[in-house]
């Protein structure tokens, strides 16, 4: 029995050590963001943010480029969420409520497209968007983002739609509601959690995306937040990096994402592994 207890304690210690290793970069980002560049220049690291200040954040925000990039990111994310969720919602109803010819091919196409890497398409996407003069615009990049996000969103919503029994709607129809009214009165409210989850998913994708943004948003004034953040590392090649400011900038970009992510994590992983929650 004693050996067993020793083993358990050993495993618990290992668990805590691993937890510390995984959380350390996140902690280090926040810790460094409060420390002055002078403190960070010291040879011995400062492990706790005592004596820190908000100066790095102020410096980062004082330069208007943050708000510019923030505005761009919000615009792109908003357009992506609205259209991706709307289109995916309609498609999800089609594939989970109807059996029709071509259904299987559509599902197959959705799954395959989801796997296409941006790296294999961005040259063509660049040429396409450039040819219609939409480089550096919200519309141009949103077209690519919506197309990139729709497949997984369809997949995610499909599970939710299938989870609401069609009999509920049919019962309402028996009570004299038209099919569309039955849908909006009965099914739609029950789908709200699914719509919220997939909106957050689409939001996170658009907010974090780097590759396509790098190719399509070539001007400084049209940068989204990830590109803006990368600018700090790029600048470090030519001048001394102010790591405190870089970490403050990273914290500003990461915190909203971390909060939103907590809501949808379960949905995303089960969706990827099992083809979304089956009803």
């Amino acid at each position: 029995m004693n050996r067993r207890r020793g083993r358990r304690i050993g495993l618990s210690i290992l668990g805590v050590v691993l937890a510390l290793i995984w959380v350390f970069p996140v902690y280090w980002m926040i810790n460094s963001s409060f420390l002055s560049n002078r403190t960070l220049q010291r040879f011995t690291p400062t492990w706790l943010p005592f004596g820190g200040s908000m100066r790095n954040f102020k410096a980062v925000l004082a330069d208007g480029s943050f708000f510019n990039a923030l505005g761009m990111s919000i615009a792109v994310a908003a357009v992506t969420v609205v259209f991706a969720v709307l289109f995916a919602f309609l498609a999800a109803i089609a594939i989970s409520r109807f059996r029709f010819r071509g259904r299987a091919s559509f599902v197959l196409a959705v799954l395959l497209i989801q796997m296409l890497p941006a790296e294999a398409l961005f040259i063509a996407q660049y040429k396409m968007i450039a040819s219609v003069n939409l480089l550096n615009t919200v519309i141009g990049i949103s077209i690519i983002y919506v197309a990139a996000v729709v497949p997984f969103t369809v997949w995610m919503l499909r599970g939710f739609v299938a989870g609401v029994p069609a009999e509920l709607e049919e019962a309402a129809m028996v009570d004299g509601l038209s099919r569309s009214r039955a849908f909006f009165k009965i099914t739609f409210p029950l789908l709200m959690p699914g719509l919220v989850a997939s909106s957050i998913y689409a939001f996170l994708q658009a907010w974090n995306e780097f590759t396509v943004a790098l190719v399509l948003l070539t001007k400084d004034e049209s940068q989204t937040l990830p590109l803006w953040l990368r600018g700090f590392i790029q600048a470090s090649a030519t001048r001394e990096t102010d790591w405190g400011q870089v970490m403050a900038a990273s914290t500003l970009v990461a915190v909203p994402v971390i909060i939103f992510f907590m809501f949808v994590q379960g949905r995303i992983s089960s969706g990827l592994v099992s083809g979304a929650v089956k009803g």
Binding site: R8, S12, L14, G15, V16, A19, W22, V23, P25, V26, Q41, T44, P45, F83, L90, A91, I93, A94, F98, R101, A104, F106, L108, L111, L112, M115, L116, P117, A118, E119, L121, I123, A124, Y126, K127, I144, V146, E170, M173, L177, S178, A182, F210, L214, P226, L229, I233, Q234, S236, T241, W243, S250, V253, A254, V257, I258, F261, Q265, V273, S274
Partner: protein
């Protein structure tokens, strides 16, 4: 129009959906349209132009002549391209394997420890998972910073190890080691959570029965637990391989901090430089098609598994 047809079904009450419905096709139109514009057309363009000469001159309006397989021949005859392909595959294979092993280890640990430790572990994993890629990259370049990075500082504390101002990003081998560490750190949480979810499906009675039968821990793991979570494991591994082939963001930012010479390239950055840097769109398109083929081969397995699930 669709409303009229639905009224009609409402009136007849019994859902007779056999009558070849039109509505689902209408519902699919927006999704299909955006997929054609955003991914279908670029894929077709890619294929088309991989068979044409499309360089700087064509940018300025010269017609692009058909060269058929010349772009592919040029690429496949180029030892640099092969080096990039090989490096990408090795990077992907090693990183995906290490990620799976560590992820499995952490999943087993989550199942073995008490509630408090498990929650601590889960919160920490979630935080790492939630980090935006670019933010993670800035933090990790800071951690690996040559002069004041914590990693050199800590390693230097170990007696007999001299890591003072060691430049991790100067040599391809250490550069890709750093990249692999970062990608593993980012991907382990997803693997750990998915496998842990799989482990919780293993019935308690089965485990008790193996205990009674006097199976050792390794036997129990090898003969009982692993076979049960094998389906989840193979899907997770496939996804990991697909994702580790697309590490453009991570490599680009590490190159920003280090060097962007070609021996630090993987497929993504290689194609990017070929296309936007030197404007060889035809060759870049051919390279993209090769990446597409590699991805389709790998993801074929994933899609097949999921389709099988869907038709059940």
């Amino acid at each position: 129009m669709s409303v009229a047809t639905s009224r009609h079904t409402a009136a007849t009450v019994t859902p007779r959906r056999k009558r070849r419905p039109v509505l689902p096709y209408w519902l699919l139109i927006p999704a299909i349209a955006i997929l054609i514009v955003g991914t279908g057309y670029p894929t077709a363009w890619q294929l088309f132009n991989s068979f044409r000469e499309y360089g700087l001159a064509q940018q300025f309006g010269k017609p692009a002549p058909w060269v058929w397989f010349d772009n592919y021949k040029e690429l496949l005859g180029d030892s640099q391209f092969w080096a990039v392909v090989l490096r990408s595959l090795v990077f992907c294979g090693v990183t995906a394997a290490v990620t799976l092993i560590i992820g499995l280890g952490i999943a087993l640990l989550m199942a073995a420890v008490g509630r408090t430790v498990r929650i601590i572990l889960q919160i920490s994993m979630l935080l790492a998972w939630a980090m935006p890629v670019v933010a993670s990259m800035t933090v990790w370049t800071w951690l690996f910073d040559r002069r004041r990075g914590v990693i050199n500082y800590v390693l230097d504390m170990i007696p007999g190890v001299d890591m003072y101002r060691f430049n991790w990003l100067a040599e391809p081998l250490t550069f890709f080691f750093v990249a692999s560490v970062i990608v593993t750190w980012m991907s382990v949480p997803f693997v750990a959570f998915s496998l842990y979810a799989g482990l919780t499906q293993v019935p308690e009675e089965v485990l008790e029965a193996t205990d009674l039968d006097g199976a050792s821990r390794t036997q129990r793991l090898r003969l009982v637990i692993l076979p049960i979570i094998r389906p989840v494991m193979s899907i997770v591994l496939l996804l990991q391989i697909i994702w580790d082939l697309r590490v453009f963001t991570q490599i680009t930012i590490l190159q920003d901090a280090g060097s962007s010479a070609t021996e630090f390239d993987l497929l993504g950055t290689y194609i990017y430089k070929l296309g936007t840097g030197s404007q060889h769109f035809g060759t870049a398109a051919a390279a993209s098609v090769i990446v597409l083929i590699i991805t389709l081969i790998v993801s074929g397995g994933y899609v097949w598994r999921i389709m099988k699930e869907d038709s059940k």
